[in-house]
């Protein structure tokens, strides 16, 4: 269901953001948005396994279609109030594209991924929940 919503989000989003396409290259992923930003991301590899490192491939755009900046990515388990044991590093690929390397979820359960994004002076934190079984 989530995946369908994400794909729908991508289809709806694509025409308006020619300068900052949300296409992640594999036709799948999640879309997170706020009043000011739109962001698409997918894990690499696509299936996140407990205890296995993964990366996130991300596109960050403003609502007006300009590329945004990804300042930080992190994740926590809100119920247990702990972070990951690892701190991801971000590589900018240009045009709002980023790759966050070094993610690892060491427990099953609900993880909240946080994305700190910025365009100009304005920064914001976006979040997305993933249930890992």
């Amino acid at each position: 269901m989530k995946l369908t919503a994400a794909l729908l989000g991508l289809l709806l989003a694509t025409p308006a953001w020619a300068d900052c396409p949300l296409d992640l290259g594999r036709g799948t992923g999640w879309v997170v948005f706020s009043d000011h930003y739109l962001m698409a991301f997918r894990p690499d590899p696509l299936r996140i396994e407990v205890g296995e490192p993964f990366a996130l491939v991300l596109n960050v755009c403003t609502r007006s279609g300009a590329p945004g900046e990804l300042l930080a990515v992190d994740a926590n388990m809100p119920e247990h109030r702990h972070l990951m044991n690892y701190r991801p590093s971000i590589v900018a690929k240009g045009d709002g594209r980023f790759r966050a390397e070094g993610m690892l979820f060491h427990m099953p359960g609900r993880w909240e991924i946080t994305f700190d994004v910025r365009a100009g002076e304005e920064s914001e934190r976006l979040t997305h929940d993933i249930i890992l079984k």
């Binding site: 407990v50 205890g51 490192p53 388990m77 809100p78 119920e79 247990h80 109030r81 702990h82 972070l83 990951m84 044991n85 690892y86 701190r87 991801p88 590093s89 390397e101 070094g102 690892l104 060491h106 427990m107 099953p108 359960g109 079984k133």
Partner: protein, 390 residues
Amino acid sequence: MTRLLLLASVLVVWAGSVWSQQRLDWSPEEIRIVGQHGPWPPSPVRDPSNKVSGTPAGIALGEHLFNEPRLSGDGRTSCATCHQAGREWSDGLAKARGSVELDRRTPSLWNIGYLHWFGWDGAGDSLWAQSIRPLLDPREMNGGPTRAAELLRGDARLACGYEKAFDRKPGGDDEQLLVDTAKALAAFQATLVSPRTPFDDFRDALVAGDRDGVARYPVAAQRGLRLFIGTANCNLCHLGPRFTSGEFGDIGIPFFVRPGEVDPGRLGGLSRLAASPFNLLGKYNEDPTGENTRRTRHVQRQHTNFGEFRVPGLRQVGRGGPYMHNGSVLTLEDVVKHYSEVSPDRLHSDGVPLVRALALTTEQSADLVAFLRSLDAGPPARPVPPPLCP
């Protein structure tokens, strides 16, 4: 004849009744979760940072070196002194004993090749890097930085085994030969995979829908397993086929090793990892892709790492012990009692605690122990190590 038929009918009904008592009703979600603890054994593992990992010549050299007391400073202690095959690759002691008594228990080597962090505090990011530590530690084998090199160069049998494993004669670089010794030791240790157990037969039967196979698993163990994956939440950390996340946790064991002195656990391990010339970011990592450095590059040191220790795998757990990183819990029954009664004050959890007093009944405790003991099996006899050279 009629009486005989009647008796037979009664026996069939009775047997059916007993059978039905030997199997709990497992939900699809429970079957999925139980299935995650297998299959067993896993595929052999190969460490890309170690070019002799998985090679017959490297494994053979490693097994000979593992039993070699001349690697130690006094010529009397080998890896096998503490990691004994007949004691589940540990020593049965509460605290390891080298030249002095240490602060932690000798960990078992079963399934160690599948880990990513090594040692109770995770100070090693490869099995070979971890194997260097006891060789050098003055409190353990105290071999010094040149002992392994002198042995490989000076002993014709080991030199021959080295050449077969590494495709070169032992050279003059003592540190390289120390690393190579550790890589051969790691190649051998990675072959130590624990045997299949009654749990594995049950798990496979449950996943396959084999009712007869499921019913052969003791019902007390089934109840214990249901607790383990259910209300007790043990599988949040003891997960997967090896029953460990391979990461670290604080389960409420006292920090103090002596009055006024604490064991910082993972916090100290991460400092040692960063300072080690043998970590995967150094020149001895033989993985040209660098893929195996991801954990080391990204691991972060947090104040919550204080007092955390590596989550041990649970296979063969009932045959080991004493338990916990410091051997402070003597029996498996005491381990379950610890989790049943652990004090929340000691754990300082802000959110929903991962470890909380389970307040188990006597029957529940016995069921958990029955399940844990179903993760045990007698390993087959070990063959004599092959000769290094004809």
